[in-house]
């Protein structure tokens, strides 16, 4: 029997038992409880071993419940069937209640003292308090002290207790370890919500001594990340959890949105096009030089071709923005896709007319054609992201701001374009972080759909190579990958393996049957397969066992709600779209002024002028826009010319 607790001390809820068949070990122990108990799978418990003499309290062991059993004194199920004469209804009429036992298995989280490591003592078992949870998860090492680095990840909830659980910033964002991976079935709004919540937590708790931090999120599907600056609905329980975690329940203060244009070059290709919101979205437009730097992305998708890579390098190094002689008498200065196409044409025509071999400057014509096809492919399929000859508009490299989320919305962009955007953005981040001139010391890069971008099998792609590179080197640079996927087992092993912290939402049973989950007990797997929304299982370097936590809903507007509250605007006609963009920059501008100005102008010229206004942000946007467009010169027919009469010769030759 469990003895009554002494006044003022918590009552034990169970007692460690050990038998020859079920011994207590240094890593696992068993304990029984009353039938009615508040603990369950995932609960953290504390075992206090008996002290010896006057040496104070004995060994203290913290464990997490990983399995549970219930049984009675029946020798076999047959005995019960016989006793009830085969009728389940008569079983309830039994004169005595059969004694039932609740036995639990717990995995050891921590022992105190840590040395010598010994089997768990046969002591009383208690529900862990806040302080116990901190001890059990070794959070005492980084949540307190001169330079605390705890990042709240959620509330451990068991037996009516809610204790904050913290991740160590040094192990979440580097340099000790880094990266976070989150798995879970789709459609439960867990993965994205968890990342949104965790980013808010990082922004509020990222320790000052570690410098500045920002996040770059790629929105690759739907409206999930389109309303991070808008408040979402929270209930009282959420607010209480925020308070318990020490996080202010508010949307992100600084969010910068970037989205490419649609093919028309003026309407933005994003779901954030409601008139109240579209003003915050900056266009993402790249020219030839930006694309050519990462053209390997376009090639490695279906084939790995060193020759094509070499030819692209040749174009970047020797042709782009330089005076270039094509060898057939033509001179080219390639600055745009159109210029490049002209060069390709000249090469093909030149080779054909000259009847020379199929080689041009050591490059085979087939390689040149392949590169040309890939490049023209991107400029066609990603029209709006890739400009033919207009000015570029890019992320603010070198001017990243502290505690700011940069959302690159490529949800509606061709997959090829998505790859290009990802590859270039991450490469630029890496470049600037290496030079320490990004503007922040650490950047969290959030990528969803890792199953697509870094699959465990399939062809080697540039994007997968980049993800591997971030996973393996990023922590030294402050480049941290937060990645989400549905099936962790199908993501490249080195990508998930390098994630210091792993979160699991509700998992698919098939996924749980894969080898990666063998370390989990069947009970934990059942819990994972039925995990409610808002609950996660966390693995973190400081935690020796996975821990279940509950996190509040992110304080931002959910994607679906956002689309309902701020329905995307229909695409505007060209003129209207130009008016709207200019009016956003200068409210004094009247639509008719703009329409008169752009009447009969070429759309490309209007786009270029608009981009210049956007880039410069002048006080008088309309005047600047007019200046960039240039004054139209009306034609005047030359007057009929009189014949020049014969003049008398000038009497003196001037020279």
């Amino acid at each position: 029997m469990i003895r009554p607790a002494e006044p003022g001390s918590p009552a034990p809820l169970g007692r460690v038992v050990a038998t020859e068949l079920k011994p207590a070990t240094p890593h696992q122990f068993h304990f029984w409880t009353a039938n009615e108990t508040t603990i369950g799978i995932g609960a953290i418990v504390k075992v206090e071993g008996p002290g010896v003499g006057d040496q104070g309290p004995g060994r203290v062991v913290y464990g997490v419940v990983t399995d549970g059993f219930a049984y009675s004194d029946l020798a076999t199920p047959l005995h019960d069937v016989v006793a009830a004469e085969g009728d389940p209804a008569r079983a309830a009429e039994s004169p005595s209640v059969r004694q039932e036992i609740r036995l639990w298995t717990a995995a050891v989280l921590r022992q105190q003292p840590e040395e010598p490591l010994q089997p768990v003592p046969l002591g009383a078992v208690y529900v862990a308090s806040d302080a116990d949870v901190a001890q059990a998860l070794r959070m005492d090492a980084y949540v307190t002290g001169a330079q605390p680095s705890g990042i709240p990840v959620g509330l451990y909830t068991a037996a009516g207790l809610e204790a904050p659980v913290y991740l160590d910033a040094d192990f979440l964002l580097g340099p000790e370890a880094a990266h976070l991976n989150i798995s879970g079935v789709s459609g439960l709004a867990t993965k994205t919500s968890a990342v949104e919540f965790l980013l808010a937590s990082i922004f509020e708790h990222f320790p000052a001594h570690k410098g500045r931090v920002a996040a770059l999120c790629f929105n690759v599907k739907g409206p999930d990340l389109c309303f991070l600056d808008r408040p979402g609905a929270l209930d009282d329980a959420d607010r209480r959890r925020y308070e318990r975690l020490g996080i202010t329940p508010q949307p992100f203060e600084r969010v910068r949105y970037y989205a490419p244009f649609k093919a028309d070059g003026v309407n933005l290709n994003t779901l954030r096009t409601h008139p109240d919101l579209v003003g915050d979205v900056e266009p993402l437009v790249w020219g030839l030089s930006e694309v050519l730097d990462f053209a390997e992305v376009l090639l490695n998708r279906d084939d790995i071709d060193a020759k094509a890579d070499a030819f692209i390098d040749f174009l970047s190094d020797r042709v782009l923005n330089k005076e270039f002689d094509d060898g057939f008498g033509g001179s080219h200065r390639v600055q745009t896709f159109a210029d490049l196409n002209g060069l390709f044409r000249a090469i093909f025509d030149g080779l054909e007319l000259s009847g020379r071999s199929d080689m041009w400057r050591t490059h085979h014509i087939a390689t040149i054609r392949k590169v040309r096809n890939r490049l023209s492919n991107i400029s066609t399929r990603c029209k709006g992201l890739v400009t033919d000859d207009g000015p570029s508009s890019d992320l603010p490299w070198g001017r990243f701001e502290d505690r700011t989320v940069y959302v690159v919305d490529v949800a509606n962009v061709d997959p090829l374009g998505q790859d290009l955007v990802f590859a270039r953005a991450v490469s630029k981040l890496r470049e600037h972080l290496e030079r320490r001139d990004l503007g922040v010391e650490a950047v969290v890069v959030f990528v969803d759909e890792l199953n697509k971008y870094a699959p465990g099998d399939g062809p080697e792609t540039y994007v997968r190579k980049m993800l591997l590179d971030i996973s393996e080197r990023g922590r030294y640079l402050g480049l941290v990958l937060f990645a989400a996927e549905q099936f962790r087992s199908q993501v490249h092993r080195r990508v998930v393996g390098n994630a210091g912290t792993t979160l699991f939402g509700r998992m698919d049973a098939d996924e749980l049957a894969t080898p990666g989950y063998h370390v989990l007990s069947p009970a934990v797997k059942i819990k994972l397969a039925t995990l409610p929304i808002g609950e996660l299982m966390v693995r973190h370097p400081h935690f020796t066992q996975p821990i279940f936590v509950r996190f509040p809903r992110p304080a931002v507007l959910r994607g679906r709600d956002g689309v309902e509250r701020f329905p995307p605007a229909a695409d505007l006609p060209f003129e209207e779209a130009v008016v709207r963009q200019l009016a956003r920059l200068d409210r004094r501008i009247r639509p008719n002024q703009v329409k008169d100005l752009i009447a009969e102008r070429r759309p490309d010229d209007v786009r270029r002028a608009l981009a210049a206004v956007r880039r410069t942000r002048p006080d008088d946007a309309l005047a600047y826009f007019r200046r960039m467009l240039g004054a139209r010169v009306a034609p005047a027919t030359a007057p009929a010319r009189e014949a020049v009469p014969p003049l008398n010769p000038i009497s003196e030759e001037p020279y």
Binding site: G330, R333, D605, R627, A631, R632, P635, I650, P654
Partner: protein, 397 residues
């Protein structure tokens, strides 16, 4: 339609002090002669339209002979090619800095030439089904530039302007016309035009298949040698103008023979050579020049010659070369100063005149300046200032 594209005539440009038999500047006469030859060829080629892309005159107030000469030549063109319109724009050299200065170019409107000086004009020629957007230097320097775009209404659209593309400006502004308006390729939008006739870059240069700098008709920049070097490196066949078939912008270069050549003789490396040895090498270079240096513009660079060695050169012989050539520039360059970081006691400090002499001896100079005279004058000024200071000190003492 056949279009003739000329640019950068720079009539009235003067250089060196050699005179014509009539007492005018010889180089000014050379520049005029080049234009006369171009007009001769135009009268043979008979283009349908003639455009001059700026800098007709070298200055806003050209010399009287230049004004008269242009009048004569334009009259020849108008009389000989009665149906061919002539469009002339002002470049940075012949654009007045203030309105009240006015421009002599307007004079030629009397001959039926379309002269565009300040504001851009789009001139339609229905008989050619062609419109010319003529954009003078002044129009490009205004806060609100004209839109360099064709308009509907003509089958052929020609852009004529004077400015330098930012991506081809040479760092020394020896080929690009210093002070020209700067342009970018998106400004031009060459693909939208049938032809873009550019002025302001003195060497023949294509910036797109249908956009060309015709180059100047003569070497009209003090640093002509940079142009000579660029022409050689880009295999440009000298000076001339362009004939352009529109549509299609098929260009053919019409060379215009220069009155004299610019001869850059093979340089001499004088390190370790005595004055006599240098004299021999200079004489060899001069003797080996093809054509002979007589009446030509000649430069000979001699590297690594110490001041003392330079003084001992055979100056009478050099004067002879100078007499034979229209201009003979013996460019004697001092050795690169050795920058030695040394310890110990400082060396003897040079007197100020020596320091000045050494500095002026290696300072880059315009090609038409005589370095020896330049140095002599500088040291003389210094002596004079030093003497005055000494007198003042003595007086106050």
């Amino acid at each position: 339609m056949k279009l003739a594209h000329l640019a950068d005539l720079h009539l009235g440009f003067r250089q060196y002090d050699r005179q014509t038999p009539r007492g005018g500047n010889q180089r000014e006469a050379d520049v005029a002669e080049a234009f006369r030859r171009a007009v001769d060829d135009l009268l043979v080629q008979r283009p349908d339209l003639i455009v001059v892309s700026g800098d007709v005159f070298h200055s806003v107030r050209p010399t009287n002979p230049a004004i008269l000469f242009l009048f004569q030549q334009l009259h020849r063109l108008r009389a000989g090619l009665a149906d061919a319109p002539i469009v002339v724009i002002a470049g940075n050299h012949d654009t007045p800095r203030s309105v009240e200065t006015g421009t002599i170019l307007k004079l030629y409107e009397a001959l039926g030439v379309h002269v565009v000086v300040d504001q851009a004009r789009r001139i339609a020629f229905p008989q050619l089904d062609c419109a010319v957007l003529a954009v003078p230097h002044q129009a490009l320097m205004q806060a609100e530039r004209p839109a360099l775009r064709p308009e509907r209404g003509a089958a052929h659209n020609i852009l004529v302007l004077h400015g330098v593309l930012e991506d081809i400006i040479d760092p020394e502004w020896s080929v690009s016309d210093y002070g020209s308006a700067r342009l970018t390729r998106p400004d031009l939008a060459a693909a939208q035009w049938d032809y873009v006739a550019l002025g302001g870059y003195h060497v023949l240069h294509d910036v797109a298949a249908n956009a060309w700098y015709a180059g100047s008709l003569e070497y009209v920049n003090p640093r002509a040698w940079v142009q000579v070097r660029e022409e050689a490196s880009r295999e440009v066949p000298g000076k001339g103008y362009l004939l352009v078939e529109v549509p299609g912008a098929r260009t053919s270069f019409r060379p215009v023979a220069a009155a004299r050549k610019h001869l850059d003789l093979p340089p001499i490396h004088g390190a370790g050579l005595t004055a006599r040895q240098l004299d021999e090498q200079i004489a060899q270079r001069v003797a080996g020049s093809k054509p002979a240096i007589d009446d030509q513009v000649v430069r000979l660079i001699v590297y690594d010659v110490a001041a003392g060695t330079a003084r001992d050169l055979d100056h009478p012989a050099i004067r002879q070369y100078k007499a034979r050539a229209l201009n003979f520039h013996l460019d004697v360059r001092r050795p690169e100063p050795q920058r030695v970081v040394g310890g110990g006691a400082p060396g003897r400090r040079h007197p100020l005149p020596d320091t000045l002499r050494e500095f002026l001896g290696r300072r880059p100079l315009d090609a038409d300046l005589d370095r020896d005279e330049f140095v002599r004058l500088g040291v003389a000024y210094l002596d004079r200032v030093g003497g005055e200071a000494a007198e003042r000190a003595a007086g106050s003492g």
